[in-house]
Each structure stands twice: as structure tokens, then as C-alpha cells.
């Protein structure tokens, strides 16, 4: 059992949770994730380790409530416990002295980008972050990013904060005015695809952190397979980061939608049977 020590709403539908997990905290690196099962009947699902504290023995997760499982997790209170948490899984992000790195985050992508940002800064890279969201309220951790990045640029669809427009608009300006050595993009599939298409024109090395469906997360099932450079790769052990210019985004989008009917059914049932107010979390 893994105890929730702290819980906070950071944006509408977005929650951060700090959990007691000393062994995971001790070994967590930027880019790693955990697989969680909330309770006996729960599914296994991955969340990035958004932050970790070796001394305190804690990890912090940041998640968006989009389906039944994240709804249930979002309702869990400080002091209660999650049944299963396993990790750290996945490859760590290759952190080098790249020079100028541009980190592009859409929505909940901030969870993955934040540890990468701090690791890149430890290696004395120059880092520009571009965070995008629908409106101002939906920006995730803008203050935390501005504290660590050399420059943090915000964009919103409606212009309520930062620039009005898409992250790719801002990224294009940065590329055209400054030398960029590497771009790291995390967010919705279509956003990562757009970033990839843009940077390909400029031949800038680009990494994306993919979010395929996963089951166990240790390379034993193949649920998380993605096509990169024409070859099948298991994102949970060989990723989740890959060279953006080689990724088959259409296949990823198809596979992510495979259980849409079941996901809707699950959420509907949860909402109608207990309207999210059940004591028991299943």
C-alpha cells in the first residue's frame, strides 16, 4: 500500500499527488513512470514521475481526470492509500550538454517535462519552455517552470494568458530567431505530431514522449507497441521517448482510441451508480 501524503488541484481537472514510495523515489530519473492500480478491481495504468524527493522518500504524480480511473484517483484523500504502485519504469531521458533545448508541453505534458527540465539544467543547458493550454486556468505548473527555465513562454487558445495561438506558432518563432539544438515535446498526440512536422523542416533533433495504452509496463505484453522508423518498439521498456521524426503518429492515435466505447461505458457507469460519491472507490 502506498500512502498519499499530499494532494492538490493545480488546474481544472488536474491534480498533483505526493505519495510515499521510498525505493521508487531513490531510483527515479527524468523520463521514468510508474504503473498504478488503485484497488482490487482497478486497471493498471501509467503515470509519469513528475517529481521525486529521495530524502523524503516521496514521488509526485500529476494527472488529468479524463476517465473512470483518474476520476477515482482524483477523489482519493490525503492519508488514504493506493494499492499498487510499481516503478520506476521506462528509459530515462538521454540528458546531455545539448546547448539550447526547447521544451514544448501541452496540458498534462508538463508532468513529463518538469523532471526533464531540471535534469537538463543540471547539465548547464539553456532551456526554453513553451507551455500551451486552452485557457489560462488550464496551464499546468507555469510558475514551477519559470523558476527553472531560462525562458518560459505561455500560449492559450483564447489569449487569456501569454500568446494567443498554438505552441507550434511560438516554437516556429523561437526556431527562426535563435539556434535550437534539440526540441522535446510532450502532450496530446496531435500536438506532438505538429511539433514533429515543424522541426523536421528545420532538421532539428526532436524527442517525443509517447503515451500508448499499457498493461503491465515491463515488456511482457506488447500492449504499448508503437512503430518507430518502421520497426515495432515497446514503449514501456524501449521508450516512452522516441525520435519524433520516425514515429507513426496515425497508428498511435488509432491504437489509443481502441477502447473508447469501453472507457465511456466505464465512466458512465461510475457516474450514474454513485455520482462519484461512493465511499468505496470501485
Amino acid at each position: 500500500m502506498f500512502k498519499i501524503l499530499h494532494r492538490e488541484t493545480v488546474a481544472p481537472q488536474v491534480i498533483s499527488m505526493t505519495i510515499e514510495a521510498p525505493y521508487i523515489a531513490r531510483h527515479a530519473k527524468a523520463g521514468n513512470f510508474v504503473v498504478i492500480r488503485i484497488n482490487e478491481k482497478g486497471e493498471r495504468f501509467p503515470l509519469t514521475i513528475a517529481d521525486s524527493d529521495k530524502e523524503q522518500g516521496t514521488i509526485t504524480l500529476l494527472f488529468q481526470k479524463i476517465g473512470k480511473t483518474t476520476e477515482v484517483l482524483g477523489k482519493m484523500k490525503t492519508g488514504s492509500s493506493i494499492r499498487d504502485v510499481v516503478g520506476p519504469l521506462g528509459h530515462e531521458t538521454p540528458i546531455q550538454e545539448y546547448g539550447h533545448c526547447v521544451l514544448v508541453g501541452g496540458g498534462i505534458g508538463s508532468a513529463t517535462l518538469f523532471p526533464i527540465l531540471t535534469a537538463l539544467k543540471e547539465k548547464k543547458n539553456k532551456a526554453t519552455t513553451i507551455l500551451g493550454a486552452r485557457t489560462r486556468d488550464f496551464l499546468v505548473w507555469p510558475d514551477k517552470f519559470s523558476k527553472h527555465a531560462d525562458e518560459t513562454l505561455l500560449t492559450t487558445d483564447d489569449g487569456s494568458s501569454g500568446r494567443k495561438g498554438l505552441v507550434t506558432d511560438v516554437l516556429k518563432e523561437v526556431i527562426e530567431t535563435e539556434t535550437v539544438h534539440v526540441v522535446i515535446a510532450v502532450g496530446p498526440v496531435r500536438m506532438m505530431q505538429a511539433v514533429s512536422a515543424l522541426t523536421k523542416n528545420y532538421s532539428i533533433k526532436t524527442l517525443v514522449s509517447l503515451n500508448p495504452l499499457m498493461v503491465e509496463g515491463t515488456g511482457m505484453c506488447g500492449a504499448c507497441r508503437v512503430t518507430v522508423g518502421g520497426v515495432t518498439r515497446f514503449a514501456c521498456v524501449e521508450g516512452p521517448e522516441f525520435d519524433a521524426h520516425e514515429v507513426d503518429f496515425q497508428e498511435l492515435a488509432n491504437r489509443l482510441g481502441f477502447y473508447r466505447d469501453e472507457e465511456m461505458e466505464s465512466l458512465q457507469k461510475y457516474k450514474t451508480t454513485c455520482k462519484g460519491k461512493c465511499k468505496k472507490t470501485n
Binding site: 480511473t69 510499481v86 477502447y259
Partner: protein, 453 residues
């Protein structure tokens, strides 16, 4: 052995094979000739004293019979159900030349089940703890057996398991209708009673490395992590929606209980027409599971003939009785999808059998003809290979083949204090051979610890 009516059982997950009645068991036991040099024993990977346990059954001493088996095999209720007996003990039985071999597996299952039914309490084992800590990595049959034997020798054993439940393939791979989970739970509880600690959600190599385990508290380590990584064919269309690797399909159902969705949160797609590719136990399990999820038509697509199928005889018999169709001498070359990225058909080469290969089976080769099966789901069950997560993190460890751990007969690796056995050292094999490896390694670890003093 008696089995449930195929028409009923093909739509539920309750156990198929019913086992012998007491009268049937005693009658079957009488058929054994009690050979002086029993051939059957040589066929059993853990060399159970088969005539002795059968003699006990004949005398009506079922508990005594079980006692004989337990000296060699910790998990008789499991082996009696899943051993490929026709290639092992029974395949060697002297009676198989003239008539039918003694049903050794069924008898083994009978005594194990008899004990469960009679709710007999375990006889307490006296263990003299020696305070020496040993780590076992992986809780499949290899790890469980090594842990139990080491505990009986007095060691303080901790098993580390990556998944949230122990049991390895027994838990996440082999379906309920063939091996009820209650039996596995019971065996695991028995092992815990010996003082073995089981830590789940712990991926050695990630949560902690072997080096850290050894440096921190453990004097020796047994690695029994299995060969869990799925193989696939690398043909076009393999990543379409509704193409599953058997490991994912079976894990969703067996470990995550997706057949009970939405009561359980994990979904699995129920399809109408399913093609399962492969001819081993995994393929049979996947096909029969798809049938139980409501498929109208299930094909098993295999590139050789029924004779060469590596699965247990009983499994293919049961599959056919349940209405599963074998499509033999067929090798998939493409999975065809629709415009939304979903499977709609599978294209296969028609094969012919040519000369025999290294495995002694005749080699399939393309006939030049091809054909198409209309299906809406494809399950790939063409084998498993080693998972690199742990192995990669042990520097200097000798490997062979596709990343399997090199060991001697007793499970010793080239690194002192690190032992291994089961599928991770042999490649995908059987439950009983994994157990045998666990047993030998426990003895070798004891020898190693004593040599340190």
C-alpha cells in the same frame, strides 16, 4: 479423464477437466505393473517415485501417496493438471507400448485434490531458522519452488515479484478453466507458511538492482524471471487495432479479470471471428479464451500439421470439442485492415512439409498458394523470449541465445552468489522443468552458503 460438456463449458470459465473419482483412481492405480526399473520415473523431470505413490493409492492411502509426491514436487495439484504427460511420465510408461499408459497425471491430481476436499490441515514442518537471507526474483514455479526448499533448510527467503500478484505464468497466463486460481492461491499460502516473504510490485533491475540487494542484505540470489517477452512475426498489419499478442490478451483476462468488465475496470475486446496464430499451449489457451468471450468462430492457424503441434494433447482435443477449427499448414503473411485501422482479414501462405529440421519435425515451406480468412481479431501466440529488464542490469553475467542466463545443471551462473533457473535459463519450457530447476538451485545455494564458512 472426465470433462464437462463442451457445449456448456465453451462459454464459461469454470474448470473443464473434472478429475478422477475415488473408484476410478483406485481402478487406474491397479493397472500399474509396479515395474522394478520404472521407465515412467525417467520421464518425469523431477523423478517422482511414481510406482510408490501409485501403490499407496492402490492401498487406499491417498495421504501417503501425496506425501511421496511432495518429496519431489511442491505443486502436485498444478502439475497433475498442466504437465505434458504424454511426453514425460506417461509417454514413457511401459504400458503405452501395448495399450494405454497409466494415467499418472490424473492420479497425481487426484491425491492433491483429495487433500483439498478433505480439508486436511498441513502437517507442521519444523524449521530451524539460520538467519541467512536469500532473495528470489520472480514468483513463477521456479521461484516458488526454490523459495520453499530454501525456507525448509532454514533460510530467510524474500521473493520479489514485478506484478501485483505472485504465481508467474500460473497466475497471468494459464486460464482459470484449465488451472483454477484457488489452487494457486492455496499453494502460495502454503509456501508463505514456511516463512517465505513475498514482496509484489517490485521490479528487480528498476525498483532496486541485484547488486543493491546483495550489498544491502542478501547472501545469495535466485533469478527465476521467466521468458515473458512476446515474439511476433514482423508482418504487415501486426499493429492494427484488434491484433493482440497472446500475453496481453491472456493477462487482461487472467490477471486483470477483463471478462468481468465493467465490474473490473480492465476491458478486453470481444470479437466475432478470431484467428489465433500458433500451435502451442499459449495458442490453445488464447483460442479457448476467445471462445469463452463469445466468439462465433475461432480458428487456430498453424504452419505445420496437428501432429507437430507442441501443445499438450489434451488441450488440442478439448479445443476441437469446443468447436475451434484448426487451419493447418498455413503461415500468416499479412494482416489486412480497414480504413479505421481495424483488422478485417488475415492472409496466409499455404504450406507443405519438407525434410525434417533440427527439432526432428518436418519443415514447412511455401506452396506458392495463398488464401484469406475473414476475421475481426487476430491473436499472435508464436512464442515468448527473455525479457531484458533484469538481465541487462547485471554486469558481467554470461548469457546465451536471445538473452537467456547461462547456468550449469544446478543453476549456478558465472557470478558467485547468483543462481538462475526456469524459463530464463532454458527458454520457454514447462512448469515442471522450472520447478525442477528451482529445486536443484535451492540445493546448490545451500552448498554455496556452506562453502563460505
Amino acid at each position: 479423464m472426465r470433462a464437462r460438456d463442451p457445449q456448456k463449458r465453451r462459454r464459461d470459465f469454470k474448470e473443464v477437466a473434472l478429475g478422477l473419482t475415488q473408484a476410478q483412481a483406485m481402478k487406474e492405480a491397479k493397472r500399474c505393473l509396479q515395474c522394478k526399473k520404472p521407465k515412467c520415473v525417467a520421464g518425469c523431470p523431477v523423478e517422482i517415485d511414481i510406482p510408490k505413490f501409485i501403490a499407496a493409492i492402490k492401498a487406499g492411502d491417498f495421504k501417503g501417496g501425496l506425501g511421496v509426491i511432495r518429496n519431489y514436487n511442491m505443486l502436485p495439484a498444478i502439475c497433475g493438471r498442466v504437465c505434458p504427460q504424454e511426453n514425460q511420465c506417461q509417454g514413457n510408461c511401459i504400458l503405452s507400448k501395448k495399450s494405454k499408459p497409466v494415467a499418472i497425471g490424473a492420479l497425481e491430481r487426484f491425491v492433491a485434490d483429495y487433500e483439498i476436499k478433505s480439508k486436511a490441515k498441513d502437517e507442521p514442518v519444523t524449521i530451524k531458522p539460520n538467519g541467512i537471507k536469500i532473495a528470489v526474483i520472480g514468483s513463477g514455479p521456479a521461484g516458488l519452488t526454490a523459495a520453499a526448499d530454501l525456507a525448509k533448510l532454514g533460510y530467510e527467503v524474500t521473493i520479489f515479484e514485478a506484478l501485483h500478484e505472485p504465481g508467474g505464468v500460473l497466475t497471468y497466463g494459464i486460464p482459470e478453466f484449465r488451472l483454477p486460481k484457488a489452487i494457486i492461491h492455496r499453494e502460495i499460502e502454503r509456501i508463505k507458511k514456511l516463512g517465505v516473504k513475498i514482496v509484489v510490485n517490485w521490479v528487480v533491475g528498476r525498483t532496486e538492482t541485484i547488486e543493491e540487494l546483495i550489498a544491502e542484505e542478501f547472501r545469495a540470489v535466485f533469478v527465476g524471471v521467466g521468458a515473458g517477452s512476446p515474439k511476433y512475426m514482423k508482418i504487415p498489419g501486426e499493429n492494427l487495432n484488434n491484433v493482440y499478442f497472446a500475453s496481453e490478451f491472456l493477462t487482461r483476462v487472467n490477471l486483470m479479470k477483463a471478462h468481468q468488465f465493467p465490474a473490473y475496470d480492465t476491458p478486453v475486446k470481444r470479437a466475432k471471428r478470431v484467428a489465433v496464430v500458433g500451435g502451442g499451449n499459449v495458442a490453445m489457451d488464447a483460442a479457448r479464451t476467445a471462445m469463452r468471450l463469445g466468439a462465433e468462430k475461432v480458428y487456430i492457424v498453424y504452419r505445420r500439421t496437428e501432429e507437430e503441434m507442441p501443445c499438450r494433447l489434451e488441450e488440442v482435443e478439448h479445443a476441437k470439442e469446443e468447436g475451434i477449427e484448426l487451419v493447418l499448414l498455413a503461415n500468416p503473411k499479412e494482416i489486412i485492415g480497414d480504413e479505421r485501422g481495424y483488422v478485417k482479414a488475415i492472409k496466409c501462405d499455404k504450406m507443405i512439409l519438407c525434410e525434417t529440421d533440427e527439432s526432428g519435425r518436418r519443415k514447412p515451406s511455401c506452396s506458392g498458394e495463398e488464401f484469406i480468412l475473414d476475421v475481426d481479431q487476430v491473436i499472435m501466440a508464436i512464442g515468448q523470449t527473455s525479457n531484458p529488464i533484469l538481465v541487462k542490469t547485471i554486469s558481467g553475467l554470461d548469457l546465451w541465445g536471445a538473452g537467456y542466463i547461462k547456468t550449469d545443471y544446478d543453476g549456478k551462473t558465472n557470478i558467485p552468489g547468483i543462481f538462475a533457473g526456469g524459463d530464463i535459463s532454458t527458454g520457454a519450457a514447462t512448469v515442471i522443468s522450472a520447478m525442477g530447476a528451482g529445486k536443484r538451485a535451492a540445493r546448490a545455494i545451500d552448498g554455496y552458503i556452506k562453502s563460505l564458512r
